[in-house]
Symmetry: C2
Subunit: 421 residues, 2 copies
């Protein structure tokens, strides 16, 4: 008998009818012979509603109290599902994060899970119950409630599956699985039968947020077999597997590019004519890091006599702050170091980032050139390029973002009616 951890997100438990549907699905899984433990998010909209209430009382509410506030959302959904299961004759018991000892560090609002005690959970499972566990929340060693950041229920589910040594962690969501491209942009993208954790990480950080990034990291680290599937439709979904070795041979037969993603919420800053001496990148970008501005792509180009240009991207929300900070930094630097005289900053908010991802790229050298050729055939100019072992990202003009995603998806055979199952 296999042990499955099911995770249902906010949309899947968005109202009472959907909670009933989740209960029915759990009943079916038990009828099919699985032992099931469930991890839930708050009902859709609830976390936002609670956050808004907190923010309307204080511009900067204390993180500890926000955690007390927000964790009430999951508390409601787990009790409701436990009730729905009980009314179907399925023994069930709800557990808060603190009750099963999901112990975290003291970083409220973005806590890290440090340990999960499985005594209570195993006891509940052995008693034939379906434990229904609040995702997203934990407790400090002192007994304070913590939350592990937005989307954290995915992470909770994978961590609990790891702790229980579950056979599979099933992430039920509002899409059928992981696609080769965003169905809202690219017509008829393919549903992937499987994807590696590494690929998922690149896809997640490139805007395809099917699965929370930290959850994928946990899955990779603790070798938890994860499956992403729809809570509304039937289907096998997408298996996210951590072990690349096992799939090495299969990889060769798989498409080289697994997916294409598009990000529209970044902005680009370029520092022109910075002195090309050691420590410049640190001097210029250090203050941004200190202010918590997250920098995504960084590209530096040298060549001209002792001058360097370098560009980087930030979240659009941070664009103005980053620009202001950068101007200030450079003005201060130019007072002390001659090399910075003439250095200036330009920015561009109207960019899109298009990324092609695939573990197969490792053994296929021509992906980048093919990508560039396809874009050039559409007269799309590339502003920045950044590559890793398994992905290539390009920054282009915002207005061509969707076109680029579409033509790349076609070029890499990521669309069509091919049935991957």
């Amino acid at each position: 008998m296999s042990l499955h951890v099911h995770k249902y997100g906010g949309t899947s438990v968005g109202d009472l009818d959907r909670i009933e549907a989740v209960a029915d699905r759990v009943v079916r899984a038990r009828q099919e012979g699985h032992t099931v433990a469930v991890v839930l998010s708050a009902m859709a909209g609830e976390t936002d509603r609670l956050t808004q209430m907190g923010l309307s009382l204080s511009e900067h509410p204390f993180d500890r109290e926000m955690d007390v506030l927000l964790s009430a959302g999951e508390q409601v959904s787990i009790a409701l599902l436990a009730i729905a299961l009980q009314s179907r004759g399925v023994p069930s018991r709800s557990f808060l994060g603190g009750q099963i000892k999901v112990t975290t560090d003291r970083n409220h609002q973005r806590a890290k899970i440090e340990a999960i005690e499985t005594t209570h959970l195993r006891k509940s499972i052995e008693a034939g119950e379906v434990p229904v566990i609040a995702g997203f929340q934990g407790m400090t060693p002192e007994g304070d409630i913590t939350t592990i950041g937005r989307g954290g229920s995915d992470t909770s589910a994978v961590a609990i599956a790891a702790a229980l040594e579950a056979d599979e962690c099933r992430i039920y969501t509002d899409v059928d699985g992981v696609y080769t491209a965003d169905p809202r942009i690219v017509d008829d993208p393919l549903l992937l039968k499987e994807v590696t954790c590494e690929e998922m990480l690149e896809l997640a950080s490139s805007g395809t947020k099917v699965l929370h990034e930290r959850a994928v990291q946990y899955a990779q680290k603790y070798k938890v077999p994860v499956r992403v599937l729809s809570s509304f439709n039937d289907g096998e979904g997408t298996v996210v597997h951590s072990d690349e070795e096992e799939n090495q041979i299969e990889d060769m037969e798989q498409p080289v590019v697994t997916g294409v993603s598009l990000t529209n919420n970044e902005a680009k800053l370029t520092v022109i004519d910075a002195p090309d001496v050691p420590g410049v990148a640190w001097k210029i970008l250090g203050p941004c890091g200190e202010k918590g501005i997250i920098i995504d792509m960084i590209v530096q180009n040298t060549g001209r006599e002792q001058k360097a240009d370098f560009s980087f991207t930030v979240q659009q929300a941070d664009y103005l702050a980053a620009m202001h900070l950068l101007e200030q930094t450079i003005s201060e630097l130019s007072e002390h170091a001659e090399g910075f005289v003439g250095t200036k900053v330009v920015g561009n908010e109207h960019i899109a980032k298009v990324t092609a991802v695939g573990v197969g790229m490792r053994s296929h050298a021509n992906v980048a050139t093919k990508m560039f050729r396809v874009l050039s055939e559409e007269n799309i100019n590339i502003q920045m390029i950044s590559t890793s072992e398994i992905k290539i990202s390009v920054v282009i003009d915002k207005q061509y973002g969707e076109l680029a995603a579409r033509v790349l998806a076609n070029a890499f055979d990521l669309t069509g009616n091919i049935d991957f199952k």
Copy 2:
């Protein structure tokens, strides 16, 4: 410096503006030199909303899960008040029932508080914080969430005040204090400056629900000075004191009757021609008790040859069930005991119960006769009479209930513009 426990009910924290007003009131109390700990209910309507969700998923939801569900309500309100206080520069910290170790028995939905550990609370108070505590909830020794029944936040507040040995437990509510009669029925009733716990108990069980009954019992048992006052208006409210000895002399000067209350939600059942032998009341009423039907007034009358009539009142909601049960019981009894042949049951849903309460009654014999005279002057027929040391209740025709309350309030000088302060 005096330590005050403030308790705010659902209406007082009904929306964000009201939570801000509560925060302002706590700030003022601190400015006046008080140390304050706060106990809160859920925002008005929240407990009902959560209950409805639970009931819509199951006709008989498990009590354990209902407690998990309902306790989320207070969790939200305490976090919000802590945030509102912090934004006013007042250090504050929220505490769930389980976090300050409000240990209860395992009777979910109607748990009894067994112990309160004050270590965390005292530490928070000593650190200069305002602890904001979730009322209504506790935890079993095993770590399961419990609730202590509707209106239980009053009880939580008094119990916490007792545990902290607070100087006063201030129950902030939506009325100015305890009145001599219900202002919705009797014009211009008087606000009582003080009232004994005993009187409060009689008033509470007779329909004037300013303060939850169990809270009064706790106040009496643990000698907690309680004050009931408005969270919307200023004013001294009503002191509920536990110690009658101290006020013995004052009592003599106080009005004999402290208050008049009216209950409209009961129904009367009368068993006619029951055999007048030992054990009859138990045989007839036993099954009702076993089914959890709460019996309020019981009056028995004998006189005719070996036959007795007796009447009792139940909650209107239990009327049909009680009637059915009684008919069944008597039919079974009549098969085995000859005395029950001819015994029958009649009922009346259209009754009102009017009660006069006052510790002064002990030393004044003429209250009952005055009450009967006043009612007879209005041609109001009395169906049942029940007395205790400090109260007299009569059951009358429902349509005369409000009239009776009014004329009695006038007769006992419970109205007018006299300022009791």
